[in-house]
């Protein structure tokens, strides 16, 4: 039987996608289905004085028009957030449809439900909403002023929470006694995930059974059901089925429980017909939770030998108008804990303020907190190297946690399990040919060309999370996952996972895992995911947790299956269990030719005529819940070379080298693909993407005409490689690969461009204009000097 782990098996899910047979939520058509169109606020902050839907209701084909009060009257609760950050956290209500006030452009106000989408949209234009516009607060610094308008009356100064981690006194002392301090103030700009599939939801209430099926383009079906039933609607969980079919990308934005899920659930029960809502892209821009948006001040202290002696960070984090599902956890526990990076920084203190503004809610976006932390650290390292006269690679090396220092406890509470940071850096330096590259850079500079080299050596904490730790730090849920293995009588296998694939290739990777350990052909294994009626439970996919947590749960279930199979085999072969070995899909009595195959055992389990029925139940099916013992800690070194057009400021990426360590790899092809996509996403933040609001709270980059996502011609071919340091605490040795590229690439590119231009900093995204301004400023500085 072939070994499947470690092989670049082509994906089994591809057949349907390349032939147009994928089944995304908007592709689903149900009998008598209606279509919802949501009337959305054009104002960032306004009081709703009245809503007149008379004319809309009278349109042919309109089934119903509802407003927020209708839902409140029906006992629908606000949508909760999933993280408690400190006892004093302000968590104002987030209604499905605004009741008294709208708090961001795009806030839902009313819904029109009609036989067709066109009729719903036409009628929605006839809903008359009388708004009393209120002053909006958009920028975080403005929001904190005493006289600033309040997004929520219950949140003075627009502060949702403050949070800190680390030893403030020791850090202040380190700064006071530092030989050198590198300071950095940075805006980590607002991003918009823009998965190419717009969000889509269908609620389908079965009048015969009372069962409700919710189809939703979610990364996280079980959590949606839990929040929907336990907190928002009160519907009995066993009567609600949430299905996430094929989902066209998520990048974090499809983790969260969204108003439209509540709306379609409630409305289908109201009207007795299925209700579908699919976002327009322009709607996605103002309703999908957005990402990043930090303003930070950081100071890093060094001794005379270039060793980091302390790091102090103060961050303002924009929460937008409401606390989205993971909102508070991102700029705190998923951010502050990463500020040690790969370095032996002895003392760290971080303070975060979560701030409400009249903008779209902010939550996790690919990397979620970890890119923000890494950006800060890796920019600081390049700045410090420049200020103190070190090669940026060498300053990093001097401060690395040594390969012999693991497990390593950082001053920001994480215990890194394993790593070899120097090995990854050396591999990357070797791949890019560092010495030659520096020489090329010198020659280019002599010729008047602006060539720069950037570094990023990063750490990520993923595989979230040990439930006890998660609970202790404010998560209102456990973060284990489940895996179930169902062996059918013919030996064919279905595996059920609580994590969800929306591009990551679980149907292939997990089948490899199962087939490998059961020693059966991969074709005999199917993965089932994304359906709460089929899968016991799960926490979904985000934070690069699928394999490390969901895969480990599958592995535990496989152990149980093989354990029982061995007992059945021992019975059939009339041998002791210990005398059996399982090789090539056969249990064989060691040293004999007596064996029984997996298929025979499966059949025996279900046709138990000759069976140890006193000791064993029939059947061959096991579920396992796996709660990780620790986070996993992927790491790596990225190096890139860029060239800047001195006339226009345009940046061209000449080389991009990535050496990542994601632990053991099941499918290298898929991991490489994750890394490519991650790097591209991070480059998008560095060079192209920004969510910009004007002072009235209008999103100026509200379409692809103004919000630039990377295109093919913006990117180079990526040169990727790996080192392998297995995760010691999960059975697969796997860490997670979905976010590494995004975390690493943003500072890598910015470092390179600053190196090329010879300036300290350029604000992200590094648009041609900003780079050109930086070139001009550096020229005038040089001329003045």
């Amino acid at each position: 039987m072939p070994a499947y782990i470690g092989k670049s098996i082509k994906r089994v899910e591809d057949e349907r996608f390349i032939t147009g047979r994928g089944r995304y939520t908007d592709d689903i058509v149900l009998p008598k289905m209606t279509h919802a169109w949501i009337v959305r606020s054009p104002w960032a902050h306004a009081r709703i004085k009245s809503i007149d839907a008379t004319e809309a209701r009278s349109q042919p084909g309109v089934v119903a028009v509802f407003v927020g009060q209708d839902m409140v009257d029906d006992g629908i609760n606000p949508i909760p957030t999933g993280w408690q950050i400190g006892a004093d956290m302000k968590e104002p209500p987030h209604h499905t449809l605004a009741v008294d006030k709208v708090r961001h452009v795009g806030d839902g106000v009313a819904v029109v439900i009609a036989d067709t989408r066109e009729v719903a949209q036409d009628a929605a234009e006839l809903v008359v909403v009388d708004y009393e516009p209120l002053p909006a607060v958009v920028h975080m610094d403005d929001a904190l002023h005493d006289d600033a308008p309040l997004v929520h009356d219950g949140a003075p100064n627009n502060v949702s929470f403050t949070w800190e981690l680390g030893d403030r006194e020791a850090t202040d002392a380190a700064l006071a006694s530092a030989h050198h301090i590198t300071s950095y103030e940075v805006v980590n700009q607002r991003l918009i995930a823009n998965a190419i599939e717009p969000r889509s939801v269908i609620g389908d209430h079965d009048l015969a059974t009372g069962n409700l099926t919710l189809y939703t383009s979610s990364q996280n079906p079980h959590l949606i059901r839990l929040l929907l039933c336990a907190f928002v609607t009160g519907l009995p969980e066993h009567k609600v089925r949430v299905i996430s079919p094929d989902v066209g990308g998520g990048f974090g934005s499809k983790i969260f429980h969204y108003p439209e899920e509540v709306l379609c659930t409630w409305a289908t029960r109201k009207i007795g017909r299925p209700v579908k809502w699919t976002a327009e892209r322009s709607e996605s821009f103002v309703t999908d939770a957005q990402g990043r948006d930090h303003i930070s001040q950081a100071q890093m202290a060094f001794d005379a030998e270039g060793k980091i002696t302390g790091l102090k960070v103060d961050t303002k984090a924009n929460m937008g108008a409401y606390l989205s599902t993971f909102a508070g956890g991102i700029p705190t526990w998923l951010y502050g804990t990463l500020l040690a990076g790969q370095y032996t920084t002895p003392v760290i203190h971080v303070h975060t303020t979560g701030i409400f503004t009249n903008t779209v809610p902010v939550d996790a976006l690919r990397g979620a907190g970890r890119p923000e932390a890494t950006f800060l650290l890796e920019r600081l390292m390049d700045l410090a190297a420049n200020e103190m006269g070190y090669d940026p690679a060498e300053l990093r090396r001097m401060n690395f946690i040594g390969a012999d220092q693991f497990p390593y406890t950082t001053p920001v509470v994480l215990e890194y399990d394993s790593g070899d940071y120097e090995a990854a850096l050396d591999a990357a330096l070797d791949m890019i040919g560092y010495a030659d590259l520096r020489q090329m850079q010198e020659q280019a500079r002599t010729a008047g060309r602006l060539v720069g080299i950037g570094f990023s050596t990063y750490i990520e904490a993923c595989g979230i999370a040990p439930s006890a730790v998660a609970g202790a730090i404010g998560a209102r849920a456990g973060l284990y996952d489940s895996g179930m293995i169902r062996v059918h009588p013919t030996g064919k296998v279905q595996a059920y996972t609580g994590v969800h694939s929306h591009g990551q290739g679980h149907e292939t990777t997990f089948a490899q895992l199962v087939a490998h350990h059961l020693q059966i052909p991969m074709e005999d294994v199917e993965l089932v995911h994304g359906d709460t009626a089929l899968i016991p439970f799960g926490m979904g996919t985000y934070g690069s947790r699928s394999l490390a947590v969901g895969g480990s749960a599958i592995y535990r279930a496989l152990e149980k299956v093989l354990n029982k199979a061995r007992k059945i085999a021992a019975h059939k072969l009339e041998a002791a269990e210990d005398d059996l070995e399982y090789v090539g899909g056969q249990f064989t009595v060691k040293g004999t030719d007596r064996s029984v195959g997996f298929g025979d055992i499966a059949l025996t389990a279900y046709v138990p005529h000759d069976y140890p029925i006193e000791e064993l139940e029939p059947g061959l099916e096991f579920n396992a819940f796996y709660d990780p013992k620790n986070f996993t800690f992927p790491f790596g070194a990225h190096i890139c070379a860029v060239e800047v057009d001195p006339e226009t400021g345009e940046v061209a990426i000449l080389r991009y080298v990535a050496v990542d360590d994601v632990g053991e790899v099941i499918n290298p092809m898929i991991v490489d693909g994750q890394v490519h996509g991650g790097i591209a996403h991070g480059i998008g933040q560095a060079l192209l993407e920004q969510g910009v609001y004007d002072n009235e709270g209008q999103l100026l980059t509200g379409s692809f005409m103004d919000y630039a996502v990377p295109r093919a011609a913006d990117l180079p071919m990526f040169e990727v490689d790996r080192t392998v340091t297995p995760c010691p605490h999960n059975p697969l040795g796997a860490k997670g690969a979905g976010e590494t590229g995004t975390i690493a690439s943003t500072p890598c590119i910015v470092n390179a461009v600053c190196d090329a231009v010879g300036v300290r900093d350029i604000a992200m995204p590094l648009t041609p204009e900003r780079v050109w301004q930086a070139i001009r400023a550096s020229h005038s500085t040089r001329e003045a000097a």
Binding site: R117, E118, Q121, D122, E125, E280, S282, E647, T648, E650, L687, L688, V692, L700, T701, F704, M705, D706, Y707, A708, D714, T767, P768, E769, W772, Q773
Partner: protein
């Protein structure tokens, strides 16, 4: 994404199209639709009647007539890009067409549609100005020719009167001592020109510039000519320092657009940079 409801009529001839325009209020012509349909989908535009002119075959031709390249209004960007005739007679135009939007946009978008829409960031207007093209317009009272310099009047405003339609544009065939080029700095989001500059130069046997025209798009509310720069080129040998000198300060930041895509200051700077590139390439072509 669905537009508001409208009526639809297909015109088989220019006359039929003009008659439909005359008969109906709020009627609009539909050619490739790549400016109009996006606006209608966002419900920023809601015509009562669309007159589909896309099948008027007489408007889809490219012909050579008395040393003029006559391009029908319905010729797509893709056809302009790929036309051997255009490549041979006016290479800059073909090259510029190949940089409009993306391949799918070029497959549908038309020359006439683009000119009539007069988006301030469209590419063709710069070429029309630099190449001194003529726009041929039909209306109730017959045909008229609008010179390049008279066509673009303001933001989305042209010399077209109500009830008129563009049927053709006439571009010059470039001779041995002529050259033209288009240089564009595109928006990374929309791919429209932040600034695009088209340049045309003619030189005499000694390499001295005898005529120069520079058209600028993307920078201001409508495409314009950089006449001072043109004057600084005429009568000179087109070497690097002459070109640098000519394009310096070609645009005044106070006249430039300013938006989240680019400030007026940056646009003014890009005008000089793109002009330098376009003029240099045009000069190289003219001097063989």
């Amino acid at each position: 994404m669905t537009p508001s409801a409208f009526n639809y009529a297909r015109a088989a001839t220019v006359e039929e199209a003009l008659a439909l325009l005359a008969e109906h209020d709020n009627a609009r012509l539909l050619a490739g639709g790549h400016s109009l349909i996006p606006a209608m989908k966002l419900r920023l535009d809601d015509p009562a009647l669309l007159v589909d002119v896309s099948r008027i075959s007489s408007l889809s031709q490219i012909t050579l007539h008395y040393n003029r390249l006559c391009i029908g209004a319905l010729v797509t960007h893709r056809v302009v890009e790929a036309s051997l005739l255009v490549q041979a007679q006016c290479g800059a135009l073909a090259e510029a067409a190949g940089g409009i939007g993306d391949p799918q946009v070029r497959n549908r978008g038309t020359l006439g549609g683009s000119l009539a829409h007069a988006d301030p960031a469209a590419d063709y207007p710069a070429l029309v100005l630099a190449l001194d093209a003529d726009i041929i317009v039909s209306g109730a009272t017959g045909k008229r020719t609008v010179g390049a310099d008279d066509f673009f009047c303001g933001l989305f405003e042209t010399a077209l009167q109500d009830g008129e339609m563009i049927t053709e544009a006439h571009f010059p065939c470039l001779g041995a001592q002529e050259g033209a080029s288009y240089a564009k700095h595109a928006s990374p989001a929309s791919k429209y020109a932040v600034v695009g500059v088209a340049a045309y130069v003619a030189v005499d046997a000694t390499g001295q510039c005898t005529r120069a025209r520079i058209g600028v798009t993307g920078a201001a509310t409508h495409a314009f000519r950089a006449e001072e720069a043109e004057m600084r080129l005429v009568g000179k040998q087109l070497n690097a320092s002459v070109i640098d000198n000519a394009v310096a300060g070609i645009a005044d930041p106070r006249d430039m657009l300013s938006d989240i895509g680019a400030s007026s200051e940056y646009r003014a700077h890009l005008c000089s940079v793109m002009a330098k590139r376009a003029v240099s390439a045009a000069a190289a072509e003219a001097m063989g």
